[in-house]
């Protein structure tokens, strides 16, 4: 299909405005698979990969602060004021009385100056106060604490699955680039990467739960099994998890595949591989231990960036499978216009993504021999 070694690569510039080609840039080698994903889907996180840890932390601190501020001002920047947003005409808790409105404004401290409100908001956040859900009349932090483990379970298992499948097939495909298997896999993953995940999830539910009955129809576990032993409880959870995890993983597996493939295709002509071959090393060893390993650096950084896509997919998939994580919580909050819950979920999901990016940046600095010093 294409040899990427001769392609021009002007300026994979990071946030700090470097214009020289940067060999250790976390961006994948140029090309259809890599670039299009970059343009459309993902981009490097806040820290360019080669900053010192203190500068890195500072840059992330700025990002988090900006996020918290955005979360505060969003409802206040909307055409309708926060109270209307809370109890607008579409919401079940619609109230029209002016006295009640004034009372509510006092209750939520909305009659105080904006700066004071903002400080109170930040102070509350430090203590884990995310407000109170309108629908459940329960602290948002409690609601989220109930759901968070399920979402984390779904995210981690689908990421592991996506990485395993995508990376292995990516190596395999790059090694046989241009052959029919490679072309087939490439087409398949390109298509898979852009399917509407909620539609795929519905079809998967129909086929594997309704028609075949292999997995439960939805939920995270079978309720009222408290007396069961840990093993069967664990199996029950896994049984509920497997289909959502596979569907969430599908799109991300394609991303892994495309990145691994394009990054490896660039390595194929490398001298060290020629040398290895001349030494008589087996192809298998060359493929995974030499070339595959060399491309892992790119993959580490990408894992964190892909989390954004995983979060998006998990919100949609949790909704289809009634999987009781934060995505489903968000979905339920939409129909009730439960803004505090929506804001809390937004904030937490974003913080998960941002901290994963930070972790990857720190890890990257340790893994790359050029920056490990």
């Amino acid at each position: 299909m294409r040899q990427s070694t001769t392609l021009a690569r002007p300026s994979p510039s990071g946030a700090d405005g470097r214009t020289v080609p940067d060999p250790s840039s976390p961006r994948p080698p140029g090309g259809l698979e890599g670039e299009l994903l970059c343009a459309g889907e993902t981009a490097p996180g806040p820290g360019a990969a080669r900053r010192s840890p203190p500068r890195l932390l500072a840059s992330y601190a700025v990002t988090v602060f900006a996020l918290l501020t955005l979360n505060f001002f969003l409802p206040r920047a909307m055409p309708s004021d926060p109270i209307s947003a809370l109890i607008d005409a579409e919401s079940p808790s619609y109230v029209q009385s002016a006295e009640l409105r004034a009372e509510l404004e006092r209750y939520y401290d909305l009659d105080r100056p904006l700066v004071e409100q903002y400080m109170a908001y930040l102070g509350g956040l430090v203590q884990g106060d995310l407000g109170v859900s309108i629908r459940y009349n329960q602290p948002v932090s409690e609601l989220i604490a109930d759901r968070l483990p399920w979402t984390l379970l779904l995210l981690t298992s689908s990421m592991a699955l996506a990485a395993a499948v995508g990376l292995a097939l990516g190596v395999h495909s790059a090694w046989r680039r241009g052959q029919r298997l490679d072309q087939g896999l490439l087409t398949f993953f390109l298509a898979l990467h852009n399917l509407p995940v909620f539609f795929v999830a519905s079809l998967a539910l129909l086929v594997f739960s309704v028609e075949l009955g292999w997995v439960p129809l939805g939920g995270t576990n079978t309720p009222f099994r408290g007396l069961d032993d840990p093993l069967s409880a664990g199996l029950d959870i896994a049984h509920h998890l497997v289909l959502p995890a596979v569907v969430v993983a599908a799109g991300t597996a394609s991303a892994y595949y495309l990145i691994m493939r394009s990054s490896l295709v660039g390595e194929l002509g490398a001298d060290y591989l020629q040398l290895g071959r001349a030494k008589g090393l087996r192809e298998r060893r060359l493929k995974y231990r030499y070339a595959g390993r060399n491309s892992l650096l790119v993959v580490v950084t990408w894992s964190a960036m892909r989390l954004e896509g995983l979060v998006t997919a998990s919100v949609l998939v949790e909704t289809v499978f009634a999987y009781q994580g934060m995505g489903r919580l968000m979905f339920d909050a939409i129909s009730f216009r439960d803004y505090p819950v929506l804001q809390g979920c937004f904030l937490l999901l974003t913080l998960i993504v941002v901290s994963a990016n930070l972790l990857a940046d720190l890890l990257y600095a340790r893994l790359d021999p050029r920056t490990a010093a």
Binding site: L7, A8, R9, P10, S11, P12, S13, A15, G17, T19, G30, G31, L32, E35, L36, C38, A39, G40, A43, G45, P46, T63, L67, L74, P75, M78, A85, E90, L190, A191, N194, L195, P196, V197, F198, F199, S202, L203, L205, L206, S209, V210, E308, V311, T312, V315, L316, T319, M330, I334, S335, R337, Y339, L342, Q343, C345, F346, L349, T350, V353
Partner: protein, 277 residues
């Protein structure tokens, strides 16, 4: 361009996109019924009278699919235009002016890119109210940072090139250089971003509609999927076959069409792909 269209991948993408556009344009002529009209009894199976049967309140599903092409296409186009215009403006400005402007703009871009898109979209759409205009604004305004980053990195590398430096050296003003050299140079990249952006906007709009965030009075594919899926016990009936499936396929084909077109155009349009020669 002509060479690109000769490749089967690009041709199929272009064909799908064209089909979508034609269906949207001639919807009144193609659709046998008004999509909101109660055209028959509820849950009719597909027949000569109702090609894809009817939905839960007796509306003709085929007509809804046909009419659904209109909001899908207009919203995706609108969001992509908005994202492209803002992204190109910020990216070019940032890349050319440099200094503090560049620094601040890129910090803003960083923050945007760090946020998972869907949760932010859900929050903003829920707060602002999911009218069609709002959705175009929201999707467009959330997607521009990606464009800005791509265009900026292109502008940065262009600034160093001989022809730009020469034009500046001969006394060409900033405006002249931008209009005469930079816009033509980043043009192909912008076209590419725009086409891929349509696919992503289609996908995001459908995802939001599926979550219940769309104009409830509109006839849209995402809303059809949403209505079908909230129908209790849908999968234990055969209704999904003509109610859910066509709407989902329409979304899928629309997204894939523009995406494949973008992928196929990339070798021609993305400057990163040009050979060093």
């Amino acid at each position: 361009m002509r060479a690109a269209l000769g490749r089967p991948v690009v041709a199929s993408g272009a064909l799908l996109a064209l089909l979508l556009a034609l269906v949207a344009l001639f919807a009144p002529a193609i659709a046998p019924y008004d999509p909101r009209e109660l055209a028959g009894p509820a849950f009719e199976s597909p027949s000569a009278e109702h090609l894809l049967g009817t939905n839960d309140i007796g509306q003709d599903v085929f007509s809804q699919i046909v009419w659904g092409a209109r909001p899908a296409l207009t919203m995706a186009l609108g969001a992509s235009v908005l994202a492209t215009v803002v992204g190109v403006a910020v990216g070019l400005g940032s890349g050319l002016l440099g200094g503090a402007v560049d620094h601040v703009a890129m910090r803003v871009v960083d923050v945007f890119l760090a946020i998972p898109q869907l949760p932010l979209l859900v929050l903003v759409a829920a707060l602002a109210g999911p009218s069609q205009v709002n959705l175009v604004l929201i999707i467009g305004l959330i997607r521009w940072p990606m464009y800005a980053r791509e265009v900026r990195s292109q502008a940065l590398s262009l600034r160093q090139r001989g022809f730009v430096q020469a034009a500046r050296g001969f006394g060409g003003g900033l405006g002249y250089v931008v209009a005469r050299h930079l816009v033509p140079a980043v043009g192909p990249l912008v076209v590419l971003l725009f086409v891929v952006g349509i696919a992503h906007a289609l996908l995001l709009e459908a995802s939001l509609a599926f979550l219940g965030l769309s104009d409830p009075t509109a006839v849209s594919w995402g809303l059809m999927v949403n209505r079908a899926l909230v129908f209790p016990g849908l999968f234990f009936t055969s209704y999904w076959l003509w109610w859910l499936l066509p709407a989902g396929l329409a979304i899928t084909l629309g997204v894939l069409g523009f995406m494949v077109l973008g992928v196929g155009l990339e070798p021609v349009f993305n400057p990163r792909w040009r050979r060093t020669g």
